[in-house]
């Protein structure tokens, strides 16, 4: 009987520690430079950089294991900000910059399998087993991770519509030769 109680107590302690560790591990980061890099990354969590998400990529950059131009969703802006932060040279984004997209579920086709829901890194999909699923548009990062798992191909990525209020003036196209800033 005593062994049983001891075993349970040890187990409880072990998992308690694990939980505590998880909480610490994903809330506070000990490395400030990783945080600074992570703050620049777009948090799309798409894995296009070759890492499991933005934070792992930030860690890899901090360790010098990854270049600063591997994040297509971040585009030129992120490369420039990283170059600035780390004192490295900016360079074109690996794989080119893509249009911003948002996922869309064809609700007639959705069978409610929850596979996309499990794939979404930011919980932007609303649904339950055997119920139709919906994307919360404002929270979707456009990472496309939900597209592949869908067994009935009902998820498509649609470009985010630019409205007059979110439109940006184009960078002036002039014919002068590039010069150095003073």
């Amino acid at each position: 009987m005593f062994t049983a109680i001891l075993a349970l107590a040890l187990l409880a302690l072990a998992f308690g520690l694990l939980l505590g560790y998880a909480a610490v591990r994903f809330k506070v980061d000990s490395d400030p430079i990783v945080d600074k890099i992570d703050a620049i990354l777009p948090q799309t969590q798409c894995g296009q950089c070759g890492f499991a998400g933005c934070h792992p990529y930030a860690e890899a950059i901090a360790k010098g294991e990854a270049d600063i131009n591997m994040c297509p969703p971040g585009g030129e802006t992120v490369v420039m900000a990283l170059a600035d932060l780390l004192g490295r040279d900016a360079k074109p984004v690996e794989g080119g910059v893509k249009e911003k997209m948002v996922a869309f579920i064809d609700e007639q086709t959705c069978i409610g399998c929850t596979l996309c829901l499990q794939a979404c890194p930011v919980d932007a999909i609303l649904g339950a087993a055997k119920q139709m699923h919906t994307i919360i548009e404002g929270e979707c990062t456009g990472c496309e991770l939900c597209v592949e798992p869908c067994p009935v191909d009902c998820i498509s990525m649609i470009p985010i519509k630019v409205a007059p209020a979110t439109w940006t003036w184009p960078y002036p196209a002039t014919s002068t030769k590039p010069e150095q800033a003073s």
């Binding site: 009987m1 062994t3 049983a4 075993a7 349970l8 187990l11 409880a12 998992f15 694990l18 939980l19 998880a22 909480a23 591990r25 994903f26 809330k27 992570d38 990354l41 777009p42 948090q43 799309t44 969590q45 998400g53 933005c54 030129e76 802006t77 420039m80 600035d84 890194p121 930011v122 919980d123 932007a124 404002g138 929270e139 990062t141 630019v162 409205a163 007059p164 209020a165 979110t166 439109w167 940006t168 003036w169 184009p170 960078y171 002036p172 002039t174 014919s175 002068t176 030769k177 010069e179 800033a181 003073s182």
Partner: protein
């Protein structure tokens, strides 16, 4: 300046000067001599739900609904927003995305109204005796009338008439400068409807509890000045001061006019209200008068149609939503040499992609430019660092530095140089000998910075949600593992502890049951009912023997 007098400031009034600015050919005589003409009632009006700064209005009519002139067709959505009214009577034929007059050339939600030609008003509720209304009632009337700043960006006027509980307004400035070349809509308004402007100024002053009102007008509009002076004399208002200021672009800039009239500087990225001043355009004042004293919502405005690209330039009173096409046609059509259609003035306006777009509340001027008509049109060269731009900048900025940093997309630096104090007046680009599209760079940088701020906000939300999800997954994993372990442990516990004995006991019990069965079956044949005592004794003896024999047997076996 024809008559060097004004009702209240016969003595030389001290004026200040802002840094920079330009003397420009004003081209105002093209359009300023013809009286305002009402624009022909259009067949179709397109009314963008957003004609102001803030949130788009929310439609409260349905497709197919018949509306009267002046009826509210869209309500303000939130605090910073403005209502929209039917500019004429007719039928709502669509509520859909339509091309809007915006530099992006994009579409936005609009209400499309087909006029029935009758132009029938809703019943209006005038408040002739507005002095009995308090400030908040006045603001409400102005809000419901959909009035926004008619001079520039279109900020909802009722907000700029609300100083807040603790701020005392010293001066209400009425902006009558109209400093940008070509534009004469305010000039004509003041000449023809000076009484409305003064009446509006008084209402605004009442709403603000402003200590005084100062009307600032450039000295290239002597007729308008005279008209205002006469109107002031008629109502005998000595607390409204009419001041002529030197003509210099961009005196009509809010901060610049405040500097000229009061010598005060609005702090960087601040508002006039920070220094107890509120500034409104003269046309807005007239609209306030109409809204309060006639109950008329803002459904029309005066638009200057001008430039050498149009046959007969003039000012038209235009219903909001009228297509630019109609206006050009009424002014004799465009000339074959038309090179560019601009909404607004030549320095601050935006190029229109085509003339099918509607006039909105902020559309003060349609400028049809002939080739080479205004400004420099040379090839773009490299910056020669001449510093002309800095000398011209009325906001006291360093346009050259802004240019370099905007061009290098260094958005931190460009903000360090106070990009957001730039009023996009175009003085720097006008004087630049290298013909650099400087303002384009600043507009690009400003909108790119806003976009970045939006992205950043979105990224923060995504990070939060991702962290939350990761945490939840870890927790669920841990919980699942804990549950599993507990279940296993629990399963083992009850038999678990003394499993050996339990097993043995179970086996023993089973064996015993089997043995009993066996014995009952044959080894102990029983015919023992109704036994006599003798019989019983014999049986017992036999049993005892057997038992001993058995014992011996087993003893032998063991040996």
């Amino acid at each position: 300046m024809t008559k060097p007098t004004s009702t209240t400031t016969a003595a030389a009034r001290k004026l200040w000067q802002f840094h920079g600015g330009l003397h420009l050919p004003d081209h105002k005589s093209l359009s300023c001599e013809q009286p305002i003409q009402p624009a022909v009632l259009p067949k179709r009006l397109v009314l963008p739900l957003q004609q102001h700064i803030g949130a788009p209005a929310k439609p409260i009519v349905e497709v197919g609904e018949r509306v009267r002139k002046g009826q509210t067709i869209a309500q303000p959505d939130g605090f910073v927003s403005a209502a929209l009214h039917a500019p004429t009577s007719g039928t709502v034929v669509a509520i859909e995305e339509r091309a809007v007059p915006h530099p992006s050339g994009l579409t936005a939600p609009c209400i499309v109204l087909e006029s029935d030609g009758e132009d029938r008003w809703v019943e209006l509720q005038p408040h002739g005796n507005w002095t009995t209304l308090d400030a908040s009632e006045l603001r409400n009337l102005i809000r419901e009338a959909g009035i926004v700043g008619l001079g520039g960006a279109g900020f909802p006027s009722f907000i700029k008439l609300n100083p807040g509980a603790r701020t005392e307004i010293d001066t209400l400035i009425l902006n009558a400068a109209e400093c940008e070349p070509y534009i004469t809509c305010d000039d004509r308004l003041m000449r023809e409807r000076a009484d409305e402007v003064i009446a509006g100024a008084r209402i605004m002053r009442h709403a603000l509890h402003a200590r005084r009102v100062v009307i600032g007008i450039e000295d290239n509009k002597p007729e308008a000045h005279a008209a205002l002076r006469d109107a002031l004399a008629r109502v005998d208002r000595s607390d409204i001061e009419l001041v002529q200021v030197p003509t210099r672009y961009p005196t009509g800039g809010e901060k610049q006019l405040i500097k000229v009239l009061t010598g005060k500087e609005v702090p960087s990225q601040g508002l006039p209200i920070d220094i107890n001043i509120v500034c409104h355009n003269v046309a807005t004042a007239a609209a306030v008068h109409r809204a309060v004293e006639h109950g008329e919502p803002l459904i029309s405005r005066i638009v200057t149609v001008t430039g050498r690209g149009v046959a007969t330039p003039r000012n038209l009173e235009v219903l909001i939503g009228t297509p630019v096409d109609d206006l050009l046609r009424q002014c004799g059509g465009t000339t074959p040499t038309l090179s560019r259609l601009v909404l607004g003035g030549p320095l601050m306006g935006i190029t229109l992609p085509h003339s099918g777009l509607p006039i909105t509340k902020t559309g003060n001027c349609i400028l049809a430019l002939a080739p080479g008509e205004f400004g420099q049109h040379g090839p773009v060269r490299n910056c020669i660092r001449c510093g002309e731009c800095a000398r011209a900048c009325p906001a006291n900025l360093l346009p050259q530095q802004l240019y370099w940093h905007a061009r290098a997309k260094d958005f931190d630096k460009v903000q360090d140089y106070n990009l957001f104090d730039c009023i996009e007046c175009g003085c720097c680009a006008y004087v630049c000998p290298a013909n650099l599209p400087l303002v384009q760079y600043y507009r690009y940088a400003k909108t790119a910075i806003w976009a970045q701020a939006r992205d950043k906000k979105k990224a923060e939300l995504a990070r939060e949600r991702h962290d939350f999800r990761t945490e939840r997954q870890e927790r669920e994993k841990a919980e699942r593992a804990a549950k599993l372990a507990k279940k296993k442990a629990a399963l083992e516990e009850s038999p678990a502890a003394d499993s050996e004995e339990a097993k043995k006991a179970a086996i023993k019990a089973a064996m015993e049951r089997a043995k009993a069965k066996r014995e009952a079956a044959g080894v102990e044949p029983k015919n023992t009912d109704n036994l006599t005592a003798d019989q019983q004794r014999q049986i017992d003896e036999a049993e005892a023997r057997r038992a001993t024999e058995k014992k011996n047997e087993s003893a032998n076996e063991r040996e």
